[in-house]
Amino acid sequence: MPELRIEATVNGRKVARSALPHQRLLDFLREDLHLTGTKDGCGAGECGACSVFVDGVLMKSCLMPVGKAQGSKIETVEGLARKGNLSLLQQAFHKTGASQCGYCIPGMVMAATAALRANPFADREEIKERLGGNICRCTGYQKIFDAVELARDVQNGRLPATALAETDVAEGKYIGANVRRLDAPGKVSGALKYAGDMTMPHMLHMQVLRSPHPHAIIEEIDTSEAEAMEGVEGVITCADVPGEDGFGVFVHDQPVMARGKVRYVGEAVAAVAAEDLVTAKRALSKIRVRYRPLSAVFDPFDAMKPGAPVLHDYAPDNVTKHIPIRKGDVEAGFARSDLVVEQDYETQAIEHAYLEPEAGLGYVDHDGVVTIVSPSQNITHHRHMLSKIINKPISKVRFIMSPVGGGFGGKEDMIYQGMLALMAMKTRRPVRLVFTREESIAVTAKRHPSRTTLRMGLRRDGRIQAVALKMVCDGGAYGLSTEGVMRKAAILGAGPYDIPNLRVDTYGIYTNNTPSGAFRSFGALQTQFATESHLDICAERLGLDPFEIRRINAMRDGAETHTKQKLKSVSYLRVLEAAERGSRWEKGAPVSRGDARTDLAGEGVREPCSLGARFATDATREAAE
């Protein structure tokens, strides 16, 4: 393969190297020059984690063939703080706490630098516009915009340089104080290494063969042709598991790689480690798998019907977990009610979409300790599970938590660390696996899609007499966190309300969909969405203010939870009051207001989104000239 000769200036230094013709500038910077501050978040030009300057112009390096960089001047995030001093913008990001997981931050700092270079006086709207190509999943952007405005004002002399310094706080006082994040300098400078940024000498690259079928028997896997390929150092399947093959946060129902059958599209079937990524990808296409498709089920209600396809032998009814709560006499409560309202609520699967796709390194160290470096949100549990899977004492298993580039619950599952361990043990070489964005979306856990039927009985004065809540969730093909999610959904679902008579049932059901798992709020979102929406509907029917109906029923100091735990103090009323004040809520039942409402616009309410702030700036400039 003829290589490209790339001569360029990178961060002020001359670089002359050969590159592979298919490489993107991103690959060249990260793999060849080890400038890993430039991140790979999507590979499709959507996220901006890879933004760099090429000849002074900000570009997305994931969409730039390296051949285009020939002869250019490139500036990466590492170039901004070259002498070890953070740039003005980097200091401002540190000051305002603009970095959270940090994975988007190098790109964000680059985009902010480009924005202030293009217009040193850009206002907040223009800043938003110019940063539009960069996505952050943690911050909600406000602190990032604050940082750009702060840097702008210091740069323009409108604020003194001391505005970037740490705010003085009383010794030892942290709560309520504006404390700077200790890890921010490493994030804003791009110095922090995430798992996908790490390399080890003699490292292999791993790729995973995944199921194209939602439900099928694996009749045969033939890896011989892949194993025979030059550059391929190892191929693993479930046959390589020496111990008890199973993981999951509650029930260990998922094998490291499919064993006997596949249960969802995207399930790992085999993995290859090779000297380079392209060889590993080519080897995947040489693995022959003979499947016998089975009928599949994609709806949890269908899966609960008699005769439905069964996913796991241990659960012939396809129920992963049922959590019931019983309190008081629900039917008597409904009989006493003046109003009974029943309504169905649905929520959909949601992807966590952390900016850092899953990645990990596995190796066996000099003492024979199988070591996994990954952004796992649950390393201790993973360590215990892996010890059983690879049949080694716990002292021979080590997990190192790399910086998590966003998790939100999505990195609690041990869905690839087992493969890294097996491959490192088989090849005796360090192995790295980096998911693509598509892989991350296709195979990792989602928020449980849910259907809730809620029946609530109330007296005319708004007092709740009884609640019956039933939620059925699509748990997907494996258990993962489903049991815990069902527990939280059941315990918290009826909300912080004093309900004398309560019946709650939550069901997590196996289907042949992508597994559902942990996601911020962990089940409470689904049931509370139903409960809170329901209270609004009931308020409307009873002619009550939505805040009022909540106050009437709120748990107060000394209340008992739905599972009969006594609460000494309850802050709900204070929270309600703050929300009411903060939203400038106009009192009254939902039916009493219409066009006359005044709390839907004005201060604190976001204007509809538009673009073109820079035209206004241009016009001002022209007028000034």
Binding site: M64, P65, A111, G133, V278, A442
Partner: protein, 306 residues
């Protein structure tokens, strides 16, 4: 993942055609690469191996940009961002800066080219509706018996369907000639899921010129995209608007006219509502930018068009 054995960067048209000849059947042209690389990923084309990529973005004819009162010539490799930062281009093509500001994001606009947008022929392309309104003509070139032959096609004859154009196998889109429309008011309306990096659900380009009184149209050019396989120039609506003064009732009538054009594959009802709203807003903005005062564009009209 996109794999290739060679990445070639010709610097003349001659060299490019030589490479096309030499690698017939095994090459693909690259300009900005912003559609090519995302295409070669899982869920779309997957892993793709193209033996030779020929990057034509450095060829002078494709980088040419001539803007004066009589013509606008855009080399096919003109980055979209130039519509925002070249004031002369913005004056000659008054809807284009508004189109460009909604196009992808600041960074992709530096890579993405106007020629790539045309050749890609996406029904949701943002760049083509304004070009239809400018009566654009594309210049295509190929080499026959050692000589470069060129032909010209009106853009509506060039873009023939989703992903389909009249570009022949060995041809290169070299340049686009557009009618300059200085003094026109231009607007571009677009709806999508967020403000940057979004593919249009519907988009509309409007260019209008007012007569001396500022109360009548002297010229109207309207083109809509995203509602069918190719952009549609709405000549009947243009004729209707030219036939009477600028008035709220007439704008409303005009806004109703293209609703029946919607024949996209999905979300037809939604698109019909959008089209109606876009027509009102797009015409209002264009008329305002063409210089109409508050006596013509009354506050009531503004409220109706917001």
């Amino acid at each position: 993942m996109l794999l290739c054995d060679e990445y070639l960067t010709p610097t003349t048209l001659d060299e490019a055609f030589y490479l096309i000849d030499a690698h017939r059947g095994g090459y693909r042209l690259v300009a900005g690469a912003t559609d090519l690389l995302p295409w070669a990923r899982e869920g779309r084309a997957g892993d793709v191996h193209i033996p030779v990529l020929i990057d034509i973005a450095r060829i002078p004819e494709l980088r040419e940009r001539i803007v004066d009162d009589t013509r606008v010539r855009l080399g096919a490799a003109t980055p979209i961002q130039r519509f925002l930062d070249d004031p002369a281009l913005g004056r000659a093509m008054p809807a284009m800066p508004r189109c460009a500001v909604w196009f992808a994001d600041d960074q992709l606009r530096e890579s993405a080219t106007i020629g790539g947008n045309i050749v890609n022929a996406s029904p949701a392309a943002d760049g083509t509706p304004p070009l239809f309104a400018h009566g654009a003509v594309v210049k295509l070139g190929r080499r026959r018996n050692g000589r470069i032959e060129t032909r010209r096609l009106p853009i509506q004859d060039f873009v023939t369907g989703p992903g389909k154009t009249a570009l022949a196998d060995d041809e290169i889109l070299i340049a686009i000639d557009c009618e300059p429309l200085p003094g026109y008011g231009g607007s571009f309306e677009k709806v999508g899921h967020r403000r940057s990096l979004v593919i249009s659900t519907v988009c509309l380009a409007a260019l209008v010129k007012l007569d001396a009184s500022g109360r009548n149209f002297e010229d109207v050019r309207l083109c809509i995209g995203g509602i069918g396989p190719v952009p549609v120039r709405m000549t009947d609506v243009e004729r209707f608007l030219l036939s009477g003064p600028i008035a709220a009732s007439r704008l409303e009538q005009a806004a109703e006219m293209p609703v029946g054009l919607v024949r996209s594959r999905t979300r037809q009802d939604y698109r019909r509502d959008v089209v109606r709203g876009f027509m009102m807003r797009g015409l209002f903005n264009a008329v305002q930018r063409a210089g109409a005062g508050p006596d013509v564009l009354t506050p009531e009209m503004e409220a109706a068009c917001a």
